[in-house]
Symmetry: C2
Subunit: 305 residues, 2 copies
């Protein structure tokens, strides 16, 4: 089990030469998700070697341009690349109409189906689940309807302690499934070998919470409690807390307060306003509250193994 | 009078790290126009120092993504930059609905009005005119409704031949307007000074024709006859003339044939398919037919003085 987050863009508002708006690529337990899709996302995916073919699920937090204007271009490129696999898009109500209208005016008819999962709930809800991963919404507070997303690996089964198992020639390969499922083994002699002797505990499952854009919102703390990695926006420093409040964004200090109260392991910050030339200041401010802070930067990969 | 074309993007289909889709910035007779607006146009405008504030008129040839998916992001940025001036957008019917829906879902209400000039005619028509410049459509043939655009400076008045004028102390500054308008001067002595002696011919007005995307189409030749600068797409080389025909694009040879038959002064080519790694081949092929060929490249400026 492993988790790797690749930052594709991490700036707010308007794209600039070396400042791309929000997009992240998440590999979690062999699933591949795209989160938000600002203008230029597909260019950033090519630059940072993200496979277009692996993306089957795209999660859009809200319908501000710096989080979704790159979606239609990416969908069009999927068509040009002769994609045939279904594409699932999760985002606020309206995303289906706006995407389909753009495809209609360009007379783009592709070979693959787009399955829209339009979100309207103000409560946290499970929106994706398979045998490896679950995805839950994190309702945020912004100027338009917005969700963050909590990605969590499923608990794995216990691992075989192979050296110990091999001490019992009577245990066959066909028994391994039951052992990994937690069962003890009854030998012909009548001896019972306890499962704890034959197995190792499962690798702890990883979790990642993506929270952008939002006002400071303590309501999210129970949802993101103890996650391994939290991305929380920090559009402003505390010098403009007034502007953060007005525009329903957060400061670096507020993001760190959320991380601290939620007892997360690491905090990634981004969505920097262009008014700040030195983004190191965001890290410095956040670290006054919470120790393990990573600055999002395009191309940066954050791995949890 | 002068004309300068800046290439912002010149590749077809999908944006890549160093290959931006179609967009051009035209300065003509002190007017500033944006022509097509593929994804990433605003990033390219910043990179190549194009003033956002000067753009009041945007011309969109057709509604394929590589020609207009950057429009909505640019409009949003105008809003963020507190633009107040009207913005005029000329493009195929549908452009208003798709733009307004995107603004609606993001709840973007800006201070400036967008005036849409939706095009539906299959005949060449005058769509913009002021005292300096006119813009006329060039109906093209592509998979969707498409126009090129012919930008033409207005003829200027004759220039004063100041050395000759100053030989007649009786001629005052207030007479200059009439002289530039072509009138002769009657001196008190009764002598008539012919206008030709007092003036120089007007500087020849410049013209630029933008033609992308299109099948080979000789019908456009009368419209673009004798222009100073022709941009004509060359998606393919002649080795894939079959594919050019099928996808309603042109080859480099075909673009050069149009340039030759229309007796233009210079030909700029672009909209290269990504299948060709060496774009010099487009120039070589076009030059077998027409001598003055310029390869479009992002950031290239072409000036006519």
């Amino acid at each position: 089990m492993s988790l790797q987050l690749t930052i594709l863009g991490c700036h707010s508002a308007t794209p600039r030469e070396n400042a791309y708006p929000t997009s992240q690529y998440l590999e979690i337990n062999n699933r591949h998700f795209l989160i938000d899709c600002g203008e230029g996302t597909q260019r950033q995916m090519r630059k940072h070697k993200v496979s277009f073919a692996k993306i089957n699920h795209i999660f859009i937090s809200h319908l501000h341009g710096d989080h979704f204007y790159g979606l239609i271009g990416l969908i069009s490129t999927f068509g040009i690349l002769n994609r045939e696999k279904e594409l699932h898009i999760y985002g606020p109500k309206g995303i289906k109409e706006v995407t389909n209208l753009q495809l209609k005016v360009s007379k783009s008819y592709s070979k693959f189906d787009i399955i829209f999962h339009e979100l309207t709930s103000k409560n946290s809800e499970l929106i994706f689940e398979d045998d490896k991963v679950s995805v839950t919404t994190i309702p945020l507070t912004h100027r338009v309807y917005t969700n963050g997303f909590l990605f969590r690996e499923k608990e794995s089964t216990r691992k075989l302690h192979i050296e110990n198992v091999q001490q019992y020639p009577e245990i066959q390969t066909c028994d391994y499934h039951n052992i990994k499922a937690g069962k003890d083994v009854l030998l012909e002699s009548g001896e019972i070998i306890k499962n704890e002797e034959l197995t190792l505990p499962p690798v702890k499952s990883k979790s990642f919470a993506f929270c952008s854009d939002t006002s400071y919102k303590e309501d999210i703390i129970p949802i993101i409690k103890n996650v391994d990695l939290l991305y929380h926006e920090t559009t402003f420093l505390s010098d403009r807390e007034d502007l953060a409040k007005k525009t329903k964004h957060s400061t670096a200090k507020q993001a760190a307060q959320i991380a601290s109260q939620a007892n997360v392991n690491q905090l990634v910050i981004g969505h920097y306003s262009s008014r700040y030339k030195n983004i190191e200041l965001f890290k410095e401010e956040a670290e006054t509250i919470f120790p393990k802070v990573i600055l999002a930067e395009a191309g940066k990969k954050i791995s949890l193994i």
